[in-house]
Amino acid sequence: EAGVVQSPRYKIIEKKQPVAFWCNPISGHNTLYWYRQNLGQGPELLIRYENEEAVDDSQLPKDRFSAERLKGVDSTLKIQPAELGDSAVYLCASSSHRRSSYEQYFGPGTRLTVT
């Protein structure tokens, strides 16, 4: 089966510009996660979706970050405006309750550099 797909793989923008990341989860996976991974750190959850519903967005900086998962399949994470501190790798993951909600499958990530 195809894995989690993310695009773009790399993005360089100037501060105050907007940026968007796209994720297509594994087919049939109802749960989708966005993580941010800072250099030298483990991933930190930003938001979790169960189908179309954002069930945990407590770590999402809502003043500049937004996310959507229309139709409960692919998802977009947006930052507007970007700040220097947003430079990180943004990872998308998905899981299926039919197998195990514990096993999350990760995409390759989008490496964002804000200059």
Binding site: T31, G40, G42, Q104, F106
Partner: protein
């Protein structure tokens, strides 16, 4: 709330020698624990998971981990390192009712000839 601590940020071993990557957890209840591996420019891949079944968990690529409640540890081991094992390894634990995966800060494994 559950948290995990990886005790070493970098580990270096020679090819063919054993690997030990250390992880401690703190939890007020029986934890679910994981090890993931991340190769450069790749996503995280699940190596193994502990979900309160057998305390010795076998994973992919010859890795295994032992859950020790008395020591609150879940160390990752492999009897013989291979060059392809060089990567970053993350210990993780579930919290938030079983849906939130919290990661340690990672251990960079270097394998030398």
């Amino acid at each position: 709330a559950q948290s995990v601590t990886q005790l070493d940020s970098h580990v270096s071993v020679s090819e063919g020698t054993p690997v030990l990557l250390r992880c401690n957890y703190s939890s007020s209840y029986s934890p679910s624990l994981f090890w993931y591996v991340q190769h450069p420019n790749k996503g995280l891949q699940l190596l193994l998971k502990y979900t309160s079944a057998a305390t010795l968990v076998k994973g992919i690529n010859g890795f295994e981990a032992e859950f020790k409640k008395s020591e609150t540890s879940f160390h990752l081991t492999k009897p013989s390192a291979h060059m392809s094992d060089a990567a970053e390894y993350f210990c993780g634990g579930l919290t938030g009712g079983g849906n939130k995966l919290t990661f340690g800060t990672g251990t960079q494994l270097k394998v030398e000839l």
